[in-house]
Symmetry: C2
Subunit: 230 residues, 2 copies
């Protein structure tokens, strides 16, 4: 028996979830859930997920890779629909984005949380970590803190837990630069992560995800270990 309780961490292979894993690992045994949903760069993200899981020595039976077809089938996002172009970010406006960009995948995080909670119920996990960021994000509605507060109530009312699973969103109010600083402090393997929405070989550096990442490293005063196309 392990002394630490078990936490499930939603792990995309990106930087935010990598830092979230590093935070969760301080107090919990890890179980990592990766969800492919037909996004363009899913093979590259799965590769990053596996490298990060290896780094944290997560055993095979506590890694779950799920492929769902429905978000791609339903469509509505440039991330899953190749007929919609991934926009390049306006470097000045990226922080203050007031409208929701076309990279928004409708209700994506709710779909992922429901998978995680089903798994948590079977494993008997006590905590569920997700690296959602409200402050310094692209304005996706399912990255707001109130969404996770509401989801906690759904877990309490819709599962058979006596002591319900607790959702943790440790990055929710952090700026990207703070996420990077904390990740470096905790020894998170940021060099293994993948953020680009557009490419799978060399990061494009111009999509909103690359821009947010690059600006974060710039503000943190450190160099991004990942290679860019320019």
């Amino acid at each position: 028996m392990s002394a630490k309780p078990l936490a499930i961490v939603l792990a995309s292979g990106g930087m935010d979830s990598c830092v979230t894993i590093a935070m969760a690992a301080k107090s919990y045994e890890l179980a990592l859930l990766h969800v492919n949903y037909g996004q363009r760069t899913q093979d590259r993200e799965l590769h990053a997920f596996t490298a990060i899981a290896d780094h944290y020595e997560v055993p095979e039976d506590r890694r779950l890779v799920i492929s769902i077809e429905h978000l791609a089938k339903i469509g509505g996002s440039s991330l899953t629909d190749n007929t919609i172009e991934i926009p390049s970010a306006d470097p000045g406006a990226v922080h203050a984005a007031s409208s929701i960009p076309n990279t928004y995948v409708p209700f994506r995080n709710a779909n992922m949380l429901s998978i995680a909670v089903s798994w948590a119920e079977v494993l008997g996990a006590e905590a569920l970590f997700i690296g959602a960021v409200e402050e310094d994000s692209s304005g996706y509605p399912d990255c707001r803190e109130e969404f996770y507060v509401a989801y906690q109530r759904v877990i309490e009312s819709g599962t058979k837990y006596e002591r319900p699973l607790k959702i943790h969103t440790p990055l929710i109010h952090l700026a990207k630069s703070e996420i990077i600083s904390q990740g470096l402090e905790l020894g998170a393997p940021l060099h293994l992560t993948w953020s680009c929405y557009r490419n799978s070989d060399t990061a494009c550096g111009t999509c909103e995800s690359c821009r947010l990442r690059l600006r974060g490293f710039e503000q943190a005063g450190v160099e991004d270990p990942v290679e860019y196309a320019w």
Copy 2:
């Protein structure tokens, strides 16, 4: 353009969702979502879904059939795990079930709702119907009204809707016999539905789902149009 607003109905092929469709059809154009999740009788249920969708003349582009692997992969239920036996119901105790039976699929309805909400966002649907039954059910936590009230709040906080999608659970406080009576009144094609958890040819008549159905018909004073093994 149709005069009626659009509603998505979660349609399993069972009796409850069939009556829910009949209720929704009074005020809405229908879009029907069917989710296969690796349950034993999924082919038979899909067959029932298609027959019901045909009955209501739902066009092909407003039928969505989604197969998800994760609930079966995660396990924990006799419905998706062939190594766990489907229990026979104790006919006297079925109504007052205080513990959760092993047919419970962890957080199943939350997984289905999240798919439905993603689709609703893309279609611009105004309503989402699910035929969950709290009163006369098997004691599944995700069939309780409080779960749907909590989920409504998740939709409001996690989608980009300005006028958020409204969840409707018209059966939630009905007894099975009342569901049957209302279904007959509305001309719902109950003869096309499938309820048995165990078999796909002739309904077993002894699993909890068959027992609930048979008791409902008995109390409603009508004969079940579906054939049973005995």
